[in-house]
Amino acid sequence: MLGVLLLAFSLVTIIHSELCRPDAQNAFKVRLSIKTALGDNAYAWDASEEYLFKAMVAFAMRRYSNKATTQISNVLLCNMTERVSFWFVVTDSARNVTTVPGSEVEAAIRMNRNRINSAFLLTDNTLQFLKISSTLSPPIEPTVPVWLVVFGVVLCLVVAGILLLVVSGIRQYKKKKHESAETGDLEDNSNTPVTTENGIPCDILDLKAGQINGVYAADDERLTPL
């Protein structure tokens, strides 16, 4: 009895080790970086975490193929390292000796990647399934390109400013023309030549009753008062 059990156990182990090997067919390598992701809140990777992982993979397989046949025991882990990294393989529930094709496993994992990540509080970068490329999240596309909005704002401001200045310029020009047209008959405008004497315009001379020549003014003071 014991011998049969031992034989069965060793058979299973041998089969398992054949199925789950590094670079085996349909096997995938998983790499976790728990400390990088969680820092001080990092949990230790132990047998319970492994159990959770097997459960998540089985869950993904069930979700993907929609038949509730995959068991936790169908997921085999091997080659655990301190990194933490390991290889896993999913065996076919109907026949224990073969493995589920890699493409199915890959599709299942991809479909449920979010759930698997959040079960371990990790992200795509810190829970890596090598050889399974993750669908990169699309960049957030706003409905209206932001730059057009800003451009529109700047354009409106500038055009408003130009119009303001041009209109005020035209108004000023009209006011000046109006004013000069009113007073144009009474005073000389700049087109007529200004008569000058010694470089000083005559009309200033007339208004200010002549220019005081500094030399003679000083002379006056030097003369002793009578």
């Binding site: 669908t135 932001v146 020009y173």
Partner: protein, 598 residues
């Protein structure tokens, strides 16, 4: 003094309808804004870095004292005394020198074409900075969303955004492609802003300058405070400022210092002459010149501190990224526990593993991380590539990006004011349009013509063309014009007459330093710089860096070289042409007038 009266100098009493500055501060700000431009932010730190850090300041200050300040004072003085724009001033000094003014006008026009295109690029980055996350922070995804676009993946996201999304650059200068509509829009907006500010000449720029000249200093201060608190800032500062005195033996350093001072002060554009012509004649231009030139150099120094701190931060972050990548590679290969190798014990681990498992380590193809190699302040790439990369690493990157690009825009805009004044003032004096046409129309026409001409820079090969314009039209003609300016004033106008004019304006005779500089040192220096510059340019085959999508050095085809020569010759040809024209005209004038008091 009698010489002064032979020129048409307006006496203080005569009514003068020439526009005036509202106050002295506006004038100083305009000159400072014109001199302080994009080059202060990206060219000076780059030169400082490649020429031995702090040691570069020695040739820089020497060039400032013997070349920058004398020429600056000269331009301000003749503009203020003769109260005309560049063409009028040179025609007044001597009709034979009238070509110098026309050359200045042409150079101002050509430079404003491509300068505003750079502002259009800045504007494009500015309006893209409001997006979360910044569009240049990550590569866009490819069609089936399994990876990134290949071109982006091969280089960096920042490079991709600049070369593809902003410029959509062609791989060759001859491959023109279409007009890029987003750049056309940005260019239109930039010219509209320039028009808005220069619509009435200095009446409008005088108001705008309060904002555009002061705002950059505010932002630089904010960046200074932020930059100094970033990790790796001190490494950057130390690296860039550590003086390497040996570099002074290289003549190239002295040449670059002289050209940097010259271009940084915006001499020979005619803009300074235009600005000072709106001053009252009795203004202390000597003090103004020294003040503005020193403020310009101080600004360069002040700007390089935040630039270097932020570059140091970027280099440190990239160095850490490189280390982290190597660490992950080693951990994964040897299946060591997560986070067992940290940055500080990386070298110990690496040495250990290299001796025990050399083949495995070699197969990983680890990149050797060297902090020095990341500390690279590349010139024109500084703003759009290096700095944008640094900004995405800083928390709150949108705000910093917006601030940075608004600062660049104001810096450039205040320089544009000077350029446009250098075009507007002489044209107003040439009386090309009748008096009834208002100034607004003339400035509008200038902006429109410039916009249409500058559309060639929005083609796919536009940035290559911009480089051509910048290297050829924006360098040699200025040196030539400045040389003729100095020799024209000193030897044709007469240094004695000029000194008397300066005395009349400032109340003091120019002292020994000015006399020696104007008479001997500056012309000699200009000539030497010009010859050295030409020699260096012609020594190697002119080439440009194409992007396809990696840098590739390509030679210019012959027809492009012809255009380069044309760009240099066109402004300068007027100098001999006008002199020749007057030389021929004189005998005909003498014979037709008979004996006249010539």
């Amino acid at each position: 003094m009698s010489n002064a009266q032979s020129l048409d100098i307006p006496e203080v009493l005569k009514e003068d309808d020439r526009p005036k500055w509202d106050n002295k501060f506006q004038y100083i700000l305009s000159c400072v804004g014109f001199a302080v431009g994009l080059g202060n932010v990206w060219r000076f730190p780059y030169l400082c870095q490649i020429y031995g850090g702090g040691a570069f300041l020695i040739p820089y200050v020497i060039a400032l004292i013997f070349e920058g300040i004398p020429l600056f004072h000269l331009e301000l003085a003749i503009g203020q005394r003769l109260r005309k724009g560049s063409i009028g001033v040179w025609n007044t000094i001597s009709p034979y020198l009238g070509g110098v003014g026309i050359g200045s006008l042409m150079v101002s026009f050509i430079v404003s074409l491509y300068y505003n295109t750079i502002l259009a690029w800045v504007m494009w980055y500015f309006i893209n900075s409001f997006q979360e996350p910044l569009p240049w922070s990550a590569c866009p995804l490819n069609g089936n969303r399994t990876g990134y676009i290949e071109e982006c993946h091969e280089s960096t996201a920042v490079n991709y955004f600049w070369y593809r999304r902003a410029l959509n650059i062609a791989s060759d200068i001859t491959d023109s492609g279409n007009l890029q509509w987003w750049l056309v829009l940005c260019l239109a907006i930039c010219w509209a802003i320039v028009y808005l500010c220069t619509i009435r000449g200095i009446e409008s720029t005088g108001k705008a300058i309060y904002v555009t000249a002061i705002f950059p200093y505010l932002v630089l201060t904010i960046f200074l405070i932020r930059g100094l608190t970033l990790p790796g800032a001190t490494e950057g500062l130390v690296y860039f400022f550590t003086p390497n005195m040996n570099i002074l033996k290289n003549p190239r350093v002295w040449l670059d210092a002289a050209t940097q001072i010259f271009f940084s002060l915006s001499l020979a554009f005619g803009g300074l002459i235009a600005f000072s012509s709106y001053n009252s004649p009795k203004n202390d231009c000597e003090k103004d010149a020294v003040t503005i030139a020193i403020v310009n150099s101080m600004t360069s120094l002040y700007a390089s501190i935040p630039v270097f701190s932020i570059l140091g931060f970027k280099a440190t972050t990239r160095y850490w990224d490189c280390l982290d990548r190597n660490i992950i590679g080693i951990i994964n290969e040897f299946d060591l526990p997560d986070q067992s190798i940290m940055r500080d014990n990386y070298t110990i681990w690496f040495g250990l593993l290299n001796t025990t498992h050399p083949k495995k380590i070699a197969s990983l193809k680890l990149r050797s991380c060297d902090l020095q190699e990341f500390l690279d302040a590349s010139g024109t790439g500084l703003a759009f590539i290096v700095f944008t990369e640094a900004i995405i690493l800083m928390p709150g990157s949108q705000g910093w990006a917006v601030l940075f690009f608004v600062m660049l825009f104001s810096l450039g805009l205040s320089s544009m004011f000077g350029n446009i004044e250098g075009i507007l003032t002489p044209l107003l004096e040439l009386h090309v349009v009748s008096k009834s046409v208002p100034k607004e129309v003339l400035s509008g026409v200038i902006c429109l013509v410039s916009f249409v001409t500058a559309l060639c820079f929005t083609l796919r090969s536009g940035s290559y063309w911009l480089e051509v314009f910048d290297s050829y039209a924006g360098s040699l003609p200025l040196l030539i014009i400045a040389f003729f300016e100095v020799t024209g004033v000193v030897y044709v106008y007469g240094i004695k007459r000029f000194s008397d004019d300066v005395k009349w304006m400032t109340g003091r005779q120019p002292n020994f330093y000015w006399q020696v500089s104007w008479r001997i040192i500056s012309p000699l220096l200009m000539l030497t710089v010009f010859i050295a510059f030409v020699t260096l340019q012609t020594q190697k085959q002119p080439s440009y860096g194409a992007w396809n999508p990696k840098y590739e050095e390509k030679d210019y085809p012959a027809w492009i070289l012809a255009i380069c020569v044309l760009l240099v010759v066109l402004p300068c040809i007027f100098i001999p042409m006008v002199a020749f024209y007057h030389l021929i005209k004189r005998p005909y004038e003498n014979t037709s007038n008979g004996t006249s008091g010539n």
